[in-house]
Subunit: 353 residues, 2 copies
DNA sequence: ATCCCCCATCAAAAGGTTTTGATGGTGTGC
DNA sequence: GCACACCATCAAAACCTTTTGATGGGGGAT
């Protein structure tokens, strides 16, 4: 209160002097590690209050070896959130993780750049890595540093890493393909992104398996996430204009799924009657497209909650499952895959909500 | 590489020993503060690489007094993001700030709880406070601690605080009211939330001024953010069922604006012909309502970018404006306030987009 | 040949906390 | 009245870095 605008921070030593006790007594009074008499404690708190003391977190971490902070790393696709669609994904994931961390009163650090020596280390007790690539370098680096890591979605090349939360793509994508087939789809094409992560890999595998089991050829193509809208439209147009065009397409990126409906419209193809469309991630694009597009929701909220739980359990030394935690994606059936008179055959409710 | 899974971290001392140089030489080799001969530098880097050394961030911060991290605090309304609508706001704000920080390669910390002694301090060089309350306690605390603060939206009771980014509510709300009047609205009611922040205060003031200037009575009411949907619906029903009901309502929270349209529908009031509806924040609720609801978008992305810029300028000691930075909210006119045949009179384009 | 300066490196201090073995005084049990 | 235990407090070490004044040796200028 009486202080000038001194840049100088109050230290534990000054509190000790003012309260006429040793430094360790002040520390113990605050931490409660050892008993301190009531009278002394009062004097310490009074002194601390008058001086406006608050402990230096760096000094504390240096001594204890813990910071009480958890890092979060997102891989590039999200970091460069140029389109509104990608921004929604990024925001939802970051927001969910932040919400879960706040709820548990633990600080969360967005790690800017692990490799950049200029940005050098951040003090974190553990680190969440969301949507790692196959054999991700960031993961390698963190493991080398002995930082406890929990991944949200698994690194496809590190199936052995037990501390992970992953989506059950197999079930969800199979359900989606069954649904399309039930609605009368015959030639189902899959368009995944080119980034090598679980979200692109697993559905591709599931699609192949499903096609093999159903005696169909697995038509797939790449639609790189870095494509511009015009670029994506071009590739889609070529596919839909060709002979033996698919009668259903599953597109990973949902803004590109919306472009599929646009291109179909231009070509005079009716959705869903001539062409069914589905996306492997939900966003405003899929919800507001005409017609609304069936999409798999990545359940970022559940992923985040499970990931944070796992991390905190690990840091607390509590027992953790020795297999990845599995979260079910949410399949949102919409008009883009619902043909009049077709029967889904799986008993699912037909309408949204 | 050859290390066991030793919890033990490698320190600068071990690197120095291995490279046969002093500790300070290692430090200088990394920081480049003083020149080091090429031969020595090579030896140091080699030793560091072999040992897997990475500097301890806490020790560094302790010594330098800087952590390279910036904090972010959001006030409770967002922290408790129970509805999808509030979650969208929270996510967008958090995501935007995170994006801007990542772009500038600075770490961002979500501060869990400033007052909680258990959570104790986080090492931050500065702190962003988003949507502070009037005379906000968090702000008081941060200022007491001498932490450089930048607010996103201003604390209504601290107009003197120069380091702020604020929305220009006056212009936007005036434009909205003019628009409603041009569409034929006669009795315009305003329903703000009960939390005491700029977003609730400024529009109220603007509404009063505008009503006074146009010789109308300023009809206002509170619709607390903590109300359940049913609770909100009840209050709205009472208002719309009364004699001399308003013919236009501006509702702060956009999910409640959507409820206004529902209640109007139940009561047989047509939107916009019998009742116009507008919201003071945009969200999926307003966009997808029937009819879509005119809303003011809070431009979280611009707020975040400006706030981060301001903070980094402050921390770098660069000159900063001595007045709050002003950002214009985006007015999104939609069908809920557009009557057939009415003329807006201000030359604005009529369609969305 | 001498002086001076600069370059590369070193040693030591400082930064603020927590941890822990030691110390002195007070009360309990016999 | 003595030994023992315990309670409250203290002093010092440890955590790992960056910073800075000091040191020694080599080269250029005179």
């Amino acid at each position: 209160m009486g202080d000038r605008t001194s840049r100088r921070k109050v230290t534990i030593r000054e509190v000790a002097e003012r309260a006429q006790v040793s430094i360790s007594t002040v520390s113990h009074a605050f931490s409660g590690v050892r008993p301190i008499s009531q009278a002394t404690r009062d004097r310490v708190f009074a002194a601390a209050g008058e001086l406006g003391y608050d402990p230096n977190p760096s000094a504390r971490s240096l001594r204890t070896g813990r910071s009480g902070l958890v890092g979060l790393v997102l891989r590039p696709r999200y970091a460069v959130a140029h389109t509104r669609d990608r921004a929604e994904t990024f925001n939802r994931l970051v927001g969910s993780v932040a919400t879960e961390m706040l709820r548990r009163k633990v600080g969360l650090i967005h790690v800017p750049d692990l490799d950049d020596p200029a940005t050098a280390g951040v003090p974190m007790d553990g680190c969440l890595v969301a949507h790692p690539y196959g054999g991700d370098g960031v993961l390698t680096e963190l493991l080398r540093r002995n930082v406890p890591v929990v991944t949200i979605e698994e690194d496809p090349e590190r199936p052995a890493l037990p501390w992970a939360v992953r989506l059950d793509y197999t079930t969800a994508v199979t359900a989606l393909l069954d649904h399309l087939a039930a609605q009368g789809a015959d030639r189902i094409a899959l368009l995944t992104g080119s980034e090598d992560n679980a979200w692109n890999r697993r559905p591709r595998e599931t699609h192949e398996t499903w096609c093999a089991e159903h005696g169909r050829s697995a038509r797939t193509a790449l639609l790189s996430e870095s494509l511009s809208d015009a670029g994506a439209a071009g590739r889609i147009r070529r596919m839909l204009a060709g002979r033996r065009r698919p009668d259903a397409v599953v597109v990973a990126t949902s803004d590109f799924a919306a472009i599929v409906t646009q291109v179909a419209d231009e070509l005079g193809l009716r959705v869903p009657d001539d062409l069914m469309v589905a996306a492997l991630t939900d966003s405003e694009h899929s919800r507001r497209s005409h017609p609304p597009i069936t999409a798999m929701d990545l359940s970022h909220e559940h992923l985040a909650a499970a990931g944070v739980d796992l991390m905190l359990a690990r840091l607390a030394g509590a027992p953790t499952p020795d297999e990845p935690v599995v979260v079910a994606p949410d399949l949102r059936l919409r008009a883009s895959t619902r043909r009049a008179g077709a029967d889904d055959g799986d008993g699912r409710p037909r309408g949204p909500r």
